[in-house]
Structures are given as C-alpha cells and as structure tokens.
C-alpha cells in the first residue's frame, strides 16, 4: 500500500477548535460525540494558544471557534486576540446563549472576523423545544441585534429536520430580517447525537424535496442580497458528499481535551489511533498520526470507488457514515447510488420518517461528568 508522505500530503486550510463541550442548549442533533468531554479535561488557555500558533505555521488560514458553546470559556476574548495576532481568520460559532453585549464588543476589539449564530426554528415555541431551552429564540434575536450593531458579518445557521423543515424558506427570511449576509440551511447530518435521534428527526422524501426546491428558488430571488448555502440531505442523495473535502486533506478538528481528529465524527470509527496536542506538535499529527493517514489518498478505496471517475471529487464519501450504516468504515459511502448498499439509505429514511415522533434524546453530560 502506498504510504502518504509529507510531499504528497497537502497543507490544511481550516481548524475547528471545539473549545469546550459545555453548552446551555441540548439540541438533539448536536454534532458533538455522545461521550462528551468534561470541563476538567479541557485544554488550558496556554494549551489552546500553542495549538493556534502551530496551526498558523502549518498553513491553517481559518479557525472556527466552536464547542459546545465557545462563550462558556472565560478566556474566549484572549484566545481570539491570540488567533488574530498570529494572522488567523477567526469565526465564532455560537448559540448566542450566555453571550453579552459587552462580550460582543470585546470580541470586536480582539479582532474577531465573523460570527455564526445558530437558530433552531423561525417559530419561537418550536425553536425553544428543539433547543431544550426556554427563551432561547428570543435571546438569540437580541444577540443578533448586538452582533449587527457591532458591524460584524453574520451567518445564521439553521439545522433542518422534521420539526422545522416546512419552514426552510421562513428561516431564510428570518436570516435576512436579522441582517445576516449568509445563511446555512443545513439538513441534519446523522452523526453524534443526531444518529440516536434519527427517527425523531428524519423528514420524508417529499418534505425534503420541497424544502430543497424552495431554497433553490430563494437563492435566485435573493441573489446578491444574502448568500444561501445548503448542506444536502445525505439520505436522499444520489452522490455522497465530499466529506471534509477529503479525509485529512483540508481540515483539522481539535476536541476540548486536545485530541486531534480528521472530522468531528471520526472517533466513532473503531481502531483509529488519535494523537493529542499535549503529546505531539500539530504538524507531527497532521503528517504522521495514524488516524490522519488511515484514509488519505485513494489506496484504501474499495470498488466501486477505486475505479470511479468521481473518486477524487467525493473521495468515496464519508467514512463515519459507511461505518454507521454498514459497520465498515472502509466501504463506499452508501449515500452513493453506486454503492451496492444504497437502497439501505432510502429504506432507513423511509422507515424513520414514517415512525412516530418520539421525545428527543436531548444532548447532555452523563451525571458523573461536570
């Protein structure tokens, strides 16, 4: 097998820093792992600063400060300041809960470039139910106002699923009303907490197709006014997504405890060896850690991927999804119509979207983790 070497491995572009897994919200589709990392395992301020300095040297251009809720870190302003000082473009991915007007102005002064605010629904009551937090919707609208008053560019992120999919278009209109220059209509990706909640979240094929068509029409109508990005619904797709732009090809994800992983879901794949920034430099991890090299390039690919004309367009799709659906992380992503197991995706979507809407399994820490 061809072993990737530093000369064949490109430079990473983006780094997702999960600063903490603590979050006031409890969204049932949270992309964090079901086994959340507690506060006592989190990297220190100095630990994160070292990660960001090494990232800038390695070629990272954009840092996404996320969580959990990144504002739950008391050192968030100091971390933003440090990122700016080493030339990184900084994006804060926040729920808005726990964010104050004072914090927004401090972040502006620290050099933060952009804010992404999550909104659960355009209907207040439904939004609060999804977030598992009473008053979340009203608070988020106030925070959006502070963000715009501070003249930050704002992206609204809306995760779509059965409870809100009928209001996809309304989400775009709400984003415009809030002064966003960009909106992400992100159909739920079934990893992390979304996987055990799939039957409560999965929309029907008809609902999905209607929502996608509405967004297409809005994109034309609002061309030049707001950028509308769509994260496609995997289970109803023909081709798989080019997950992360290719395994360990462009992105690095660092968990609260400093574990470095190729994507937020990759810890679900058994047998992968992840390295930690407390023991290795980021550069060593990017080039040499076993998990990052596991699915680089095309040598690992089975058929039909290996001889496929799209093998370097979608890179065989998503390894975590292949494992989640087929129990084999080496398989072609079943979202691809060329996968021998493609029908399984459609069947799952059909069954789950017709099931009774159960209560959500809300995201939370186990009782023994602070």
């Amino acid at each position: 097998m061809e072993i990737p070497t530093p000369s064949t491995i490109g430079l990473p572009i983006g780094l997702l820093a999960e600063l903490t897994h603590r979050c006031p919200l409890a969204c049932p589709y949270c992309s964090n792992p079901v086994a959340l990392e507690g506060r006592n395992t989190e990297l220190s301020t100095e630990g994160w600063k070292r990660v960001f300095s090494e990232a800038a040297k390695l070629g990272i251009l954009q840092v996404h400060l996320s969580g959990g809720e990144p504002a739950a870190r008391r050192d968030i302003v100091e971390l933003v300041q440090h990122c700016a000082s080493v030339g990184l473009y900084t994006n804060l991915i926040t729920s808005g809960i726990g964010v104050t007007e004072k914090l927004i102005s401090e972040l502006a002064e620290a050099g933060l470039d952009h804010i992404q605010l999550s909104i659960q629904d355009s209907d207040a009551e439904s939004a609060d139910k999804i977030a598992g937090y009473k008053g979340a919707f009203a608070k988020k609208k106030i925070v959006a106002g502070w963000i715009k008053a501070a003249e930050f560019p704002l992206t609204v992120n809306a995760v779509m699923h059965r409870a809100n999919i009928a209001r996809s278009a309304a989400m775009v209109e709400l984003a415009i009303e809030l002064g966003a220059s960009r909106v992400e209509i992100a159909h739920t990706q079934y990893y992390g907490w979304a996987l055990p909640n799939r039957a409560a979240l999965m929309p029907s094929r008809t609902e999905t197709e209607t929502a996608v068509a509405e967004i297409d029409a809005l994109r034309k109508r609002h061309h030049g006014e707001i950028v509308i990005d769509l994260v496609i619904p995997d289970y109803h797709a023909t081709y798989p997504k080019a997950c992360m732009g290719g395994w360990a090809k462009q992105f690095i994800n660092v968990t609260p405890s400093g574990k470095v992983i190729p994507c937020h879901a990759s810890e679900t794949i058994p047998g992968l060896e992840f390295w930690n920034v407390t023991e290795h430099t980021l550069s060593d991890i990017w080039y040499s850690s076993p998990a990052f090299n596991a699915y680089r390039g095309i040598a690992w690919m089975p058929e039909p991927c290996r001889s496929c004309d799209r093998r370097e367009i979608d890179f065989g799709g998503c390894r975590c999804q292949a494992f989640a659906i087929l129990g084999d992380a080496n398989a072609t992503d079943p979202a691809c119509h060329r996968s021998p197991h493609h029908a399984l995706m459609t069947d799952i979507a059909e069954v789950d979207s017709n099931g009774a809407i159960g209560d959500y399994l809300y995201r939370k820490f186990p009782a023994n983790v602070a």
Binding site: L11, I13, Y89, D113, T155, S181, G224, V227
Partner: protein, 95 residues
C-alpha cells in the same frame, strides 16, 4: 476605449468587514478570506485586489493596471468589472 458606466467607474471597491486579502506565507500565494469561504487568487486577481484599498475608484484601478501590464484599458476594464461583480455577488467586495 469604451466608456465605463458612470456609476461603476467612480465606485470604490472595498472589502467588507469579515473579508480579508492575505498573503499566505505557507503556500506563497494571495488568498481572499471570507466567512466559510476562501478564494485562491490567480496572479491577475491578486494584482486587482491588492489595489482595492477602499480609496481608489474602479477607473483609477483600471488605469493603474493598464499601465502596469501595458495592456488595453478596455480589456482590463472588462476583466476587472467581471471579477469585482462576481465577488460583489458573493458579498466579498462592496462597491
């Protein structure tokens, strides 16, 4: 040379907050950084965007490039307008 549209020739292109032109030392190229987006600049785009300082007008930029590259201003105008219009649609440049 075709006349620039009045509105456009006097427009002053600038990068809105959240968009930054940066020289990427690791790759030795210019990149335009924006929310969840990144555009690698070819040498022509890099030359144009480096002149977008929020002070120069479109016509001044065209004039400078025409003399810098010793090229037909009409062609430069067409290329610069297309580039900036495309970036403006993506909210990466304000006119």
């Amino acid at each position: 040379m075709t006349e620039l549209h009045n509105m456009l020739s006097t427009s002053i292109p600038k990068f809105p907050r959240g968009v930054r032109l940066k020289h990427d030392e690791a790759r030795q190229e210019w990149v335009l950084l924006a929310p969840e987006r990144l555009i690698k600049c070819d040498p022509i785009a890099a030359a144009v965007l480096q002149l977008c300082d929020g002070k120069r007008s479109l016509s001044e930029i065209v004039k400078l490039l025409a003399s810098q590259f010793n090229a037909d201003a009409a062609i430069i105008e067409r290329d610069v307008t297309a580039l900036l219009q495309g970036l403006s649609d993506k909210k990466m440049v304000q006119m």
